[in-house]
Symmetry: C2
Subunit: 129 residues, 2 copies
C-alpha cells in the first residue's frame, strides 16, 4: 500500500509528475512560480523531498552532486488512494453519492458530461458480459 501523501508532499509530486524528474532547486522554483502567498524556502522543499524518498514516494539519483528525484508512485494510484479514503470517511462507501456530489459541486460542461456518459455506457456493457 502506498503512503498517502500530505498536502505539501502532493505539491511536490505534481511538479515531478509534470517534469518526470527534477532537482530540488527546480522543484522549489516551480513551486514558487505558482505560489500565491509566501515563498517556500529552499531547505523546506529539500527536507520534504528527503522525507518522501525515505517513505518511498520518491526515488533519487545521487550520482550527481545535485540529486535528481523522480516520483515513485503513479498519479492514478495516488488519486485512487484519496478517493478510497474520501469514500469511506465522508460518503459511507457510496461511489454514486460521490459522483453526484462531484457533478453538482463543479458544474462540468456538456461535452465533459457526454464524455462521462460514454465511459459509463462502456462500463455498463462490460458488466453485462
Amino acid at each position: 500500500m502506498i503512503p498517502k501523501p500530505t498536502d505539501a508532499e502532493l505539491e511536490i509530486l505534481h511538479v515531478l509528475w509534470k517534469y518526470g524528474s527534477a532537482t530540488v532547486r527546480a522543484v522549489n522554483e516551480e513551486q514558487n512560480k505558482r505560489a500565491g502567498g509566501d515563498e517556500i524556502g529552499y531547505t523546506t522543499t529539500l527536507k520534504f523531498m528527503q522525507i518522501m524518498a525515505d517513505k518511498g514516494l520518491l526515488t533519487r539519483d545521487e550520482s550527481q552532486r545535485s540529486h535528481v528525484y523522480s516520483a515513485a508512485v503513479r498519479e492514478g494510484d495516488v488519486q485512487s488512494a484519496f478517493v478510497s479514503k474520501l469514500l469511506s470517511s465522508v460518503f459511507h462507501g457510496s461511489a454514486m453519492n460521490l459522483v453526484l456530489q462531484a457533478l453538482g459541486t463543479s458544474k462540468p460542461s456538456t461535452s465533459e458530461l457526454q464524455q462521462i456518459r460514454a465511459l459509463l455506457d462502456e462500463e455498463i456493457n462490460n458488466n453485462q458480459r
Copy 2:
C-alpha cells in the same frame, strides 16, 4: 465558509446526522459500538464536541445538565467541501477525472451505473436549454 472537519470530527458528525441530536454520552457509546480498534474515552469525545461547538460545526442546548448537541452543518455541504478540496489538490480541478477515478476505484453495480447515467442525461438536457 464552513470549516473542514477533521477525521475525528467527521465521526461525530456522522452520529449526529444519523440521530439529529444527542448527548456526549450517546455519541460516545455509538462510536464505541462501531469501533473496531481501541475504545474512545468519554472525555475524548467530550473535548471534540466542545471544540466543534466553538468552531461552529455543532450547536448545543445547555438547558439540561447533560448538554444536547446537534450538527450545525449539513452533510451535503460537508461532502461538497471535501470534494472541492480533493478536486483542487489532487485532480487539477477536473471533475471528470474524479468521476472516472471514483467509478474505477469502487466498481459500482450495473444498476447504480444506470442511475448515475440517468442523472447525467438529465443534467445534459438541462444544459441544452
